[in-house]
Homo-oligomer: 130 residues x 2
């Protein structure tokens, strides 16, 4: 079967492209993945997430949490304590992202190593050049 490469019909390409776009669509923006990773150690409250992420403003955090809830990556739970307690926790569905996130992490790691090596090489070349 030497013809694996020939499966690139225009339709299948578009299907593939749309699937990739769908995936990136729900992970887009500056905060989606940081949020998901932050919640992987267990549920957190609104203010705890804010502290954990550092510089996110409440407006943005609120919007991102709503987006993630709509995509069923997390659940919002309200407890009638005083003052009220609201927690956000990852759903079982969010675990389906594991392989995607793993591959992004693996690729990102080796890409960064590659960049560092290039910089070293550039530096050596400069030394030689001067």
């Amino acid at each position: 079967m030497p013809f694996k490469k020939e499966q690139h019909s225009k339709e299948s390409c578009n299907t593939h492209l749309n699937a990739v776009k769908d995936a990136l669509y729900v992970l887009n923006g500056k905060w989606k993945l940081p949020l998901i990773l932050a919640l992987q150690n267990g549920p957190l409250r609104f203010n705890e997430i804010q502290k954990s992420l550092g510089e996110i403003t409440p407006k943005i955090l609120s919007k991102e949490l709503k987006d993630l809830e709509l995509n069923e990556f997390l659940n919002r739970k309200v407890f009638s304590t005083t003052p009220v307690t609201v927690t956000y926790e990852l759903t079982a569905y969010s675990a389906s992202l594991e392989r995607v996130i793993d591959e992004l992490r693996i690729w990102g790691t080796q890409h960064r190593e590659r960049l560092v090596n290039h910089r070293k090489t550039d530096y050596r070349m400069q030394e030689v050049a001067t």
Copy 2:
């Protein structure tokens, strides 16, 4: 060894997060992945890419191609024909993205199926409700 979950130190989380961010950084924007997928069938010329992608303007295409070239995902080759011919082709390094793209595609596909099923369910529930 039942403590796999306990490996979530703050430092390792940040390392993971940064790696994921690095990966998404080079794939960001509306056109990076469409471009890479378009070139997977072989090199294309500037105008061919434009036609293939449909609605991209020359300014954006030029910028995106430069970004991808900087990241060493593709090579720009100039042929001294008349008029000049310029082709863009994927590098060997771009193949390192294969697993990332595969996982995005797989996840995107099942996510879309899931959304379609939800819509069907919602429709049935509306029918029952009226």
